[in-house]
C-alpha cells in the first residue's frame, strides 16, 4: 500500500536515456525544431499534452502524451524497411520496462504514423505515446 510519485521532468529524462541507449539511434533530443545537420536515425521527444486528475489530496493521476518524431535516411529501395526497423526498436525499448524504472504506471505507444514515402530519401515516423504517472501536485 505505497505510492510512488514522479515528475514529468524525471520521466522525460528517463525517456531520453532509454532512447539514447538504443544503439542504432545516432541522435536524440527534446522538442523538434527543424531537421538540420543531425545524424540519422534521429529522434525528437516532443511534449504534446497533459491531463491531470486529482484522486486524493496529494495524488494526481497524470496522463502525459508525448510525440516521438523519428527520422531515418536511406536513399536505397529499402527505406520503409529501415524506418520500420527503427520504429520497432523504439517500441521494444519502451516495452522492455513500461514503468520506466518505477517512475510510471504504464508507458505505451498508441499510434504510429509515417510520411508514407513522401519525404524520400528521408523517412519520418510519428509515435504517439502515452505515459501514466502519479504526481503529488
Amino acid at each position: 500500500m505505497s505510492v510512488y510519485y514522479a515528475t514529468k521532468e524525471q520521466v522525460a529524462a528517463k525517456l531520453f536515456s532509454i532512447f539514447q541507449a538504443v544503439s542504432q539511434l545516432k541522435f536524440v533530443d527534446r522538442q523538434y525544431i527543424e531537421p538540420g545537420n543531425y545524424a540519422y536515425p534521429g529522434l525528437f521527444i516532443n511534449d504534446v499534452r497533459e491531463a491531470r486528475d486529482s484522486r486524493l489530496k496529494d495524488v494526481v493521476l497524470v496522463t502525459w502524451s508525448v510525440l516521438l518524431v523519428l527520422y531515418v535516411y536511406d536513399d536505397s529501395a529499402t527505406l520503409s524497411t529501415t524506418l520500420n526497423a527503427e520504429i520497432k526498436r523504439l517500441i521494444d525499448a519502451l516495452k522492455a520496462d513500461v514503468t520506466l524504472g518505477g517512475l510510471t504506471y504504464n508507458a505505451r505507444v498508441l499510434q504510429v504514423d509515417t510520411d508514407e514515402g513522401f519525404l524520400r530519401p528521408h523517412g519520418v515516423a510519428l509515435l504517439t505515446t502515452e505515459l501514466v504517472l502519479l504526481s503529488q501536485s
Binding site: 500500500m1 505510492v3 495524488v59 502519479l134
Partner: protein, 138 residues
C-alpha cells in the same frame, strides 16, 4: 441516548479499524476522497442504510437495517497479496464479531464488490443487520 443503530455503527468503527486500516469515517453518502491524503489510506467508509421494522408483536419487535462498508486503498503497483490481506482483515473482523458485542446481529454480508481503477481501488461490503427491540409500556 443513542439508538441501537448508532451504537452498532460506533462499534463497527472500532471493529473495522483493523491493523492495516488508517482511517474510518461514517458518512451519509459517497466521500470526496480528494480531501484525504495517501497517508490516510487504507480508509474505511461506513454508510448507514435505512432502518425498518420486520415485525412487532406486543412489546416485542425486530428491526433490520442495511449498511455499506467500503475500504479504499491506493496502489502504485499491482500488489494482490496486500489487497487480499486487507480484504481478509475486514472479513475476519466482521466474521469474528458477528454481533458487534451483542448490539446487533450481522445477518449477512450481502455482497462484496471490488471496484476502482488505478491508483485508487475499493472493496464494498453490503451488510444486513437486525436486532430485537423491546417496546416500553405506553
Amino acid at each position: 441516548m443513542s439508538t441501537v443503530r448508532e451504537q452498532a455503527i460506533a462499534k463497527l468503527k472500532t471493529v473495522l479499524k483493523t491493523a492495516s486500516v488508517k482511517t474510518v469515517v461514517v458518512a451519509n453518502g459517497p466521500l470526496d476522497l480528494t480531501t484525504y491524503s495517501a497517508s490516510q489510506l487504507p480508509l474505511v467508509e461506513i454508510i448507514p442504510g435505512v432502518e425498518t421494522a420486520l415485525y412487532e408483536v406486543g412489546r416485542h419487535a425486530e428491526w433490520r437495517f442495511q449498511l455499506r462498508s467500503t475500504v479504499y486503498f491506493v496502489e502504485s503497483r499491482s500488489d494482490e497479496a496486500q489487497q487480499e490481506k486487507l480484504v481478509g482483515e475486514q472479513k475476519n473482523a466482521l466474521g469474528g464479531n458477528p454481533t458487534l458485542d451483542d448490539i446487533v446481529e450481522i445477518v449477512d454480508i450481502v455482497n462484496v464488490t471490488p471496484g476502482g481503477s488505478f491508483p485508487l481501488y475499493s472493496v464494498e461490503f453490503q451488510l444486513s443487520c437486525r436486532y430485537e427491540r423491546h417496546i416500553a409500556n405506553a
